[in-house]
């Protein structure tokens, strides 16, 4: 597909002159206009382009925020809550777009990932495409975590303290490593300044990885709800068919995003973050942003020493990172040859159980790790790993998939044929 490039129909000689020397227009034309996409993509295929759009929104609003933000422990809080929110023209809008944009970004990407899990989009030959996606998720997490520190509210401060302290669990090098991360003996101004630098840098790294992600996607083309390989006649050009569909999806998304920005702008911001950072006053209940809650629950679920050698604190950290790490291996953990859950009668149910499991983990993560919350977190963690490490490999071997159609027109034709036969 990506081997034979089509020439864009140039109207302007200048553009042709440029493109002959620097074929960016040919490239864009082939990736965004002629790109042959499956006819049968449903709305779950909108979330990738939406995530790309919100990434651009984050970069644009972020670059503008930086023009009024002061990355210093004594001044950061006032520059956000005082200067940007009250004095800068439209500062409130730009900040709320950025703060809520982060939540929207995660919501879109999580849906995008579950879509991949349902339709088996990670399977051969799209393994690297999936792995690049997991890398993007990790980069997003780092970016959002460091961004959350920048307003230097009390939750910013203590979230930074608790999360960086995780690394102190590593034997031997833990303590010096944490001092190195902080640039001091606590989270303080040096920490804020380096987080600021990285928070500016990482989105551009994400941007570059997104390019690789799309390069890998266009190598074999999009998967589709049937999960079968499609021939040329089952594909249509990306423009205008999917550009229009993506714009419609964007309008719906903007309604949701706009609702939060204009009617519930602080829904995702902890009240504690309206108090300036106070190194002497730990909030009684430290909770991360909602998009980290399932992982936070896994971190705190390990309250026991593991096999006598791994202390609980280290065990929790390992489990939390493993929860993301296991995603890298999904293309090989799933042993089924069939991609789409539509033709996998049992996997389909386990898929929804995983969705519920992640929601339960999120709920447990939002609550203190005691009593039933702790039990829920522990069972949820166990099930999460069982899904990927036991259910996926075993199910692929024992499940009998439904018969697969050979092309898009095939199920329709067979349907009519059997009708006439009746």
């Amino acid at each position: 597909m990506s081997t034979e490039l089509q020439q864009p129909p140039f109207k302007s000689g200048v553009l042709r002159w440029i493109d002959e020397r620097l074929p960016v227009l040919t490239w864009a034309y082939n990736e965004l206009v002629v790109y042959p996409a499956p006819k049968n993509l449903n709305y779950w295929w909108n979330f990738g382009s939406l995530a790309g759009i919100i990434l651009v929104v984050q970069i644009v609003t972020g670059v503008i925020l930086v023009m009024s933000y002061t990355p210093h422990a004594d001044l950061a809080f006032d520059s956000v809550e005082g200067y940007i929110m009250r004095d800068v023209n439209w500062g409130w809008l730009i900040r709320y777009l950025h703060a809520n944009g982060a939540s929207m970004f995660f919501a879109l990407v999580y849906i995008h990932m579950f879509r991949g899990l349902y339709y088996g989009s990670y399977k051969k030959p799209r393994e690297l495409l999936w792995i690049l996606g997991v890398i993007i998720l990790l980069l997003m997490m780092a970016t959002a975590f460091m961004g959350y520190v920048l307003p230097w509210g009390n939750m910013s401060y203590w979230a930074a303290t608790v999360i960086t302290n995780l690394f102190s669990a590593i034997p031997l090098v833990g303590e010096p490593l944490v001092t190195w991360l902080w640039g001091g003996f606590t989270v303080a101004n040096p920490t804020l300044q380096r987080f600021f630098s990285l928070h500016y840098l990482l989105p551009f790294v994400i941007f570059a990885v997104v390019f690789l992600h799309i390069l890998a996607l266009h190598q074999f083309g999009s998967n589709n709800p049937l999960g079968i390989d499609l021939s040329k006649k089952d594909k249509i050009p990306f423009h205008p068919y999917y550009t229009v569909k993506d714009v419609f999806g964007l309008c719906v998304f903007l309604l949701v995003y706009g609702y939060f920005v204009f009617y519930a702008p602080t829904a995702f911001i902890s009240p504690t973050n309206f108090i300036p950072a106070d190194p002497l006053q730990t909030p009684t209940h430290i909770v991360p942003e909602w998009y980290f809650l399932p992982f936070y629950a896994i971190l705190r679920a390990i309250t026991f020493d593991f096999l006598w050698i791994v202390p609980a604190k280290l065990g929790g950290v390992i489990a939390m990172f493993a929860a993301i790490g296991v995603l890298f291996f999904v293309p090989w953990l799933d042993t089924s040859k069939v991609r789409s859950a539509r033709f996998r009668p049992i996997y389909k149910w386990f898929f929804w159980l995983l969705v519920i499991d992640v929601l339960v983990l999120g709920w447990a993560g939002a609550n203190p790790p005691e009593g039933w919350y702790l039990v829920a977190a522990q069972l949820g963690t166990l099930y999460y790993f069982a899904h990927f490490l036991v259910i996926m490999p075993v199910l692929g071997k024992i499940e009998r998939p439904l018969p697969l159609p050979t092309s898009l027109s095939d199920p329709v034709l067979r349907g009519t044929r059997s009708q006439t036969a009746n």
């Binding site: 003996f185 040096p190 380096r194 190194p279 730990t282 005691e370």
Partner: protein, 182 residues
């Protein structure tokens, strides 16, 4: 020139070229590490951070049973003037009941003065109990609300996820009423 070239019939793996390649790569590797080190080390605490590394505290105004918080290297340090009863409690416990066994005597220079870093050894919250009215946990020391760690009157971990006793800062008494932390 021609006779200095590597003969074609030399056995594989022992040529001068292999050796030179090895030397070149090692030099390159060591050089790269040496060049990266300043970049990495620049993130460690700077001279300015290290310079403010001692704190002097006047103990005169602290009454028996009172606890105060001072800052040392940006960290809270708890200074407690313990009551007879608190000292007794800390010394009565047998060491094998403790997760991080340390006798009280090893944690204080003068029994009356307990000086510990006020940072929970679990994930770094500041435990409650240093201000009057705050909960002090089941062992009358400190209680960390973040994940529920209880510390006793010697700052030792008794219950909860924290792995270690509250750390001790380096300090010395410069006089009977002055202590230098750091």
């Amino acid at each position: 020139m021609a006779d200095s070239a590597v003969p074609h019939d030399q056995p594989a793996g022992s040529s001068r070229r292999d050796f030179l390649e090895l030397v070149a790569w090692s030099t390159f590797g060591v050089g790269t590490l040496a060049a990266i080190w300043p970049l990495i080390d620049s993130l460690n605490p700077s001279a300015a951070v290290l310079a403010v590394a001692t704190t002097e505290v006047d103990l005169e105004p602290i009454e028996v049973g009172q606890r105060v918080t001072v800052m040392w290297r940006g960290k809270p340090v708890f200074i407690g003037r313990r009551t007879e009863e608190e000292i007794e409690m800390a010394r009565a416990v047998s060491l094998d009941e403790l997760r991080d066994p340390e006798p009280d005597e090893a944690r204080v220079q003068k029994p009356e003065w307990l000086i510990v870093i006020g940072i929970c050894t679990h994930l770094g919250c500041v435990p409650l109990g240093n201000r009057s009215g705050e909960p002090r946990g089941q062992w009358a020391g400190w209680f960390c609300p973040c994940h529920g760690s209880h510390y006793d009157t010697a700052g030792r971990i008794r219950k909860g996820p924290a792995p270690r006793n509250l750390d001790l800062p380096p300090y010395r008494f410069v006089s009977d009423t002055q202590v230098l932390i750091g």
